[in-house]
Symmetry: C2
């Protein structure tokens, strides 16, 4: 548990912070599958007591990033390629198709503005080669739309799927998609959203998520539904 770069947090919602920090550590690869997570150590490292740590671990357990065995502790959990490709990604598509459809009617002009900002941010980070920040913007983009769909279960499930997918690609399938392409994809998605054409949006969403699985489809110069 040494040197994870975890830092103490001031007085504020502890549990959330602990969960966030651990999630970061896992999805970024600082914590690898099989690593044990000792409550006392984590608590000490984060400058809190075990209570918030325990709750964070429970949460991560439900997010599938951690497994815990009664009286025997928790450890970081990995994902198999099969599960990602045949379960997590298809589920993510189901979720996002539904959420984007619902969100179409509730997205405000200001939301669209925010989304555009995120896309711009993506382009910038893509140019700068900041993969981590790109992924963050990517997540915020999707999370905003799903939040606006006002489907609580969708959002809740998305939050448990997305970290696993991210952790998987980060660890086991190093970035194969061209950052600039990801940015363009989002721009396209946003453009389609602006048209309000439901069928087109659903198509774009599905393709957009699929690109993670088929890296070869359009590295540069491809003509796929863009």
């Amino acid at each position: 548990m040494a040197g994870l770069g975890l830092r103490r947090v001031p007085t504020q919602s502890r549990r959330e912070h602990v969960a966030e920090i651990l999630r970061d550590a896992i999805t970024s690869g600082r914590l690898a599958p099989g690593d044990r997570l000792i409550e006392l150590d984590l608590a000490a490292e984060l400058g809190t007591s075990r209570a918030p740590v325990r709750e964070a671990l429970r949460q991560l357990e439900q997010e599938g990033l951690v497994v815990s065995y009664p009286y025997r502790g928790s450890e970081v959990l990995g994902v198999s390629q099969d599960e990602v490709e045949q379960v997590l990604v298809p589920i993510r598509i189901t979720l996002e198709r539904f959420a984007f459809k619902k969100a179409l009617s509730t997205l405000t002009p200001q939301d669209l503005e925010t989304l555009q900002t995120l896309v711009d941010e993506m382009e910038e980070t893509a140019r700068a080669g900041a993969a981590e920040e790109l992924a963050d913007a990517d997540i915020r983009f999707h999370e905003l739309v799903i939040t606006r769909s006002e489907q609580r279960h969708c959002l809740q499930m998305w939050k448990t799927i997305q970290p696993r997918v991210r952790a998987y690609f980060r660890r086991d399938a190093p970035a194969h998609s061209d950052p600039a392409y990801v940015a363009r994809q989002h721009q396209h998605l946003l453009d389609v959203i602006r048209t309000g054409d439901e069928a087109a949006v659903l198509d774009a969403v599905e393709q957009h998520i699929h690109i993670h699985l088929e890296p070869a489809t359009e590295p540069e110069g491809g003509e796929h539904g863009e």
Copy 2:
């Protein structure tokens, strides 16, 4: 919070029991959407301290049965018909298709035996009109197969999907499927599993889950309309 039928538990894994009891109370409808869940009250009712209750609430929150707002408590969450039909059920199909496929090669003869026992149990409870027990057997059937698939994420996600679906049908869409038909469906599914024909199994799984949504489709004349 009065009279939920909650009972004190002896010394054993508390958190799990609390979660189980609350989940039962919610899926069975004793707790309705919007009901507030006060940690202190629940703890008192269950004869434990707040710690296990809190963890159980976190777990139920991740299972989508409960929402909680910081410093303002938790309440039971409902599901919309849209979400069940367009999100939860499709996801369940994705999960189970994958899990059943994986499980085909790992199911032992003894597992098949157990499954047969469960199907027999279903027939019995169907005759007795014990809807609750029927649903329990149903769940155990699926859970066993998914467990044998040895896909942890599948099992974990299934456990978070299934209670919501159950709660929904219990509360908002009273049993429209003929109990005897459910039992026969499982018998059929089990028979197909025994043949080991992967494609056939996947078909059977998908149809089997779909029946919840389309009550009207019954192959041969069982018109015991609930």
